[in-house]
């Protein structure tokens, strides 16, 4: 295919060499990927990744970042174009082949098996010969984690590890396969700033030990902080590749999205009467250990309460207890006048609690069902969506079309199954459904994780709009900037309790961080 790249003034001449040059760890030449449903995910992408560099990839939701990386790691096949590894053209048939070539990928959504231990998860990918030599696996894990300075107990189960640690296990797993080129798809989207710091330390260590790293992110700051070069994708094409030293936030933002990003004007809310009242709540985690430990909390109408904390301090269990997905051991949850402690989820939804879950793939959507069916999940049981159990299919479709355009979800048609959507667009779908629910309380867990700057802004605006309509919002996020920007009150959670409360006007970031780490 001889299609000249879009916006050639932006096009970087250096990349126009043929990539035979061995200084490139990976060189992509004219990669085009068209999905069976006609979506052009990558269009004539030419991109070189230099040996030993950290290369950041930026781009809107659905720009084709994940698709491109999946092509490099052998999961998808390009329709045309060529891949060169160390200057030699290769055909990467499957992920095994990629791994033999020294390429490994950490996916946008983790692929570790939660019920397995660290050792078992790693053994699973190392066992290529059919024989499982656990001793060898152990040796490998020890030697690799020692050289990286990672402290990971190979016997701990994945589900018991906080997100930051899981990330490390994902990377450890790649390193145990002797990967030279690491592809990381949005590794930081659910990490707290503290975790991001230690994650970046690890990236720098990897780089100094000679690894090549490709990193996808939506956060300009992070790209500027960690990378050597940055490539921006838009609508499946390379817009520009620039050295990080020549980039700044404004430039990157203008490359990533077309047009202006309207900045949210956040005025503080005018809180009314309490709508959600949690009192001395005790909840256990999956292994029966106390996760929420006598926590009390009030959310008033027209107020955003932000929960700041490092993942794994009871946020998940708190939210699940409120939404009826986890048993409350003691204490009460009240919604306006109703006691909703240990009530069925359906009851709680009907009383008006909307919920944007963090685990979007398993909890938030049904991957194999259509976008329109997913958007109707919470309202299909009520008129006008259904009457006497008979679904109004026209309305389901119209509702979907409305939400798709209102939240600019990128879908080929409203009936495609959700598994064909990009990560960010799945998130938009969930947000669209929950924000349009009505109700009195919204619980938003990582509402903008994986969203591009424009979409994040849009979600922030929607949240602020809901607040001015008098809805009480509980915002749980690892993104401190987001919490500080939106919240009327910030509660710090540690060890299953609220250990401190701030109003944004007189916020002491130092103290907040200390509280998050349980240092007070």
């Amino acid at each position: 295919m001889a299609i000249t790249p879009l916006s050639s003034p932006f096009f970087n001449d250096k990349e126009q060499d043929n990539g035979k040059d061995a200084e490139y760890a990976v060189f992509l030449k004219g990669i085009t990927k068209i999905f069976p449903n006609g979506t052009v995910a990558n269009h004539d992408v030419t991109l070189g990744i230099l040996k030993g560099e950290v290369h950041a990839i930026l781009g809107e939701n659905g720009a084709g970042k994940t698709t491109l990386m999946r092509i490099i790691s052998g999961i998808l096949k390009p329709d045309s174009g060529e891949i060169l590894i160390d200057g030699k053209p290769v055909r990467i048939r499957d992920p095994m082949e990629a791994s033999r070539l020294g390429i490994g990928m950490v996916h946008q959504h983790f692929t570790l098996i939660p019920e397995f231990t660290v050792r078992e998860n790693i053994a699973l990918v190392l066992a290529t010969s059919g024989w499982l030599n656990l001793k060898k696996v152990d040796e490998k894990i020890t030697s690799v984690s020692k050289s990286m300075g990672l402290e990971i107990d190979p016997d701990s189960k994945i589900e018991s590890l906080p997100i930051g640690k899981r990330q490390q296990v994902e990377i450890l797993r790649l390193l145990c396969q002797d990967v030279k080129i690491l592809i990381l798809d949005e590794p930081t989207s659910v990490l707290t700033p503290i975790e991001v710091d230690s994650f970046f330390r690890m990236i720098r260590d990897l780089k100094s030990s000679g690894k090549t790293i490709v990193l996808i992110t939506h956060k300009m700051k992070e790209a500027l902080q960690i990378s050597d070069r940055i490539t921006v994708l838009r609508a499946g094409r390379v817009i520009k590749t620039i050295p990080t030293s020549e980039a700044n936030e404004a430039l990157l933002a203008s490359l990533v999205v077309e047009g202006m990003i309207p900045a949210t004007v956040v005025r503080r809310g005018t809180p009314g009467a309490p709508v959600l009242r949690v009192e001395s709540l005790r909840v256990s985690d999956d292994r029966g250990r106390p996760a929420v430990d006598g926590l009390s909390l009030v959310v008033r109408s027209g107020e955003i309460v932000g929960i700041a904390g490092v993942a794994g301090n009871g946020q998940k269990e708190l939210v699940e207890a409120i939404t009826g997905l986890r048993r409350v051991e003691s204490g009460t949850v009240r919604l306006a006048l109703h006691d909703i402690t240990n009530k069925p989820t359906r009851f709680i939804i009907e009383r008006g609690i909307s919920y944007i879950p963090e685990d979007r793939l398993h909890r938030g959507v049904i991957l194999t069902m259509g976008v329109h069916e997913n958007l109707a999940l919470k309202c299909i049981g009520k008129p006008p969506m259904s009457r006497k159990s008979v679904i109004d299919r026209g309305l389901v479709l119209r509702n979907a079309e409305n939400l798709i355009s209102r939240f600019s979800i990128k879908v080929p048609d409203p009936c495609t199954s959700v598994e064909n959507l990009s990560g960010g667009n799945i998130q938009k779908l969930i947000v669209a459904r929950e924000l349009s629910n009505g109700g009195e309380v919204l619980i938003a867990e990582q509402p903008t994780a994986g969203l591009d700057i424009k979409a994040s802004e849009a979600v922030h605006q929607e949240l602020v709009a809901l607040r001015s309509k008098g809805i009480g919002i509980l915002l749980v996020s690892s993104d401190l900037d987001e919490i500080i920007k939106l919240s009327d009150r910030i509660c710090v959670i540690f060890g299953g309790r609220i250990v401190g409360e701030f109003v944004p006007e007189n916020l002491d970031i130092e103290r907040l961080s200390r509280l998050m780490l349980g240092a007070e």
Binding site: T323, T345, G364
Partner: protein, 350 residues
Amino acid sequence: MTNQLVISRGTKRSIVRALLSVALTLVATSIIFLINNVNPFLAFIYMFQGAFGDINLLSETLIRMTPILIVSLGLAVSFKCKIWNIGAEGQLYIGAMLGTIVAIGIGGGPLALLAALVVGALGGLLWAAGPALMKVKLGINEVITTFLMNFVGIYLVQWMISYPFRSPDTLFPESAAIPSTSALAVILPRTRLHLGVVLALALVPVVYFLLERTTFGYKVKVVGESPEAARYGGIEVGRMIFVSLIFSGLLAGLAGITEVMGIQHRVRGSLSPGYGYTGIVVALLGQNNPLGVALASLFLAAIMNGSSTLAWTMNIPMGIVDLMQGLLFVFVLASEPLMRFLERRGVLKL
């Protein structure tokens, strides 16, 4: 809930998948024919003639299709919920037995027929309720319980027709005959084709409507595809599992009593040549889509009836039915990975 006029990609894929399974079965059967010095083309032609050759043969095939279709429509619903009811055979026998007892007890007339159908269906439901409860309350795998309940059910019926409900006027263990006035009426003169086939075909749009247009069908699908998302969406997962399992029992029971009221007119040990198991293959081949299930059940019925012609024309043992059914089962299960392989290789573009 896909757009009706355009055949969606998913539907197209399902059709190709089903055809692929059928084609592979025919090829594999041909090879076996060839090994045995039988001309496969001739064999399939005889088979076709045996199933559809004249009005009599055709109506026999439709008769055969009737219980298979009713059973597999029910199974389609539970399979959609990813609940594997392997116990339709037992549910079918229990339904047939209870319905027959009621029909004989009331003694003749359309009311007896109606009561028998209702009680028969409820009997199947009842037999599925046990495993359903165990699944929902105790988390016991329904594959094992429903399968084992087959033996309990079938032997229970054997005992009932051997002792308490044994017909006084025959030498064999079988129940008394139902009064002829309560039998399902013959709808085509000089054949055995009875009203049951109308009932079965009428159930196709009913189940289609249930699955595609009602909140029940929607919830069944969500629970089947992602129990976690279902819980999050406020769907009572346990209840949907329970209901979809007993629904498949309901139709299995109805299939059994329909077979009695339409064809056999009494319960015998040989009432069903494994319709409950055939239903599993049919539901899988029809991809749990009522229309697909209707076509698949006609296909299986044709194999069954065609084989008997084959048996006396070409001297091929009747075991060929089980062979083909088994092959079909294997290929239906293998078709999904096979399709993915072909798609990855770029052989198949959908």
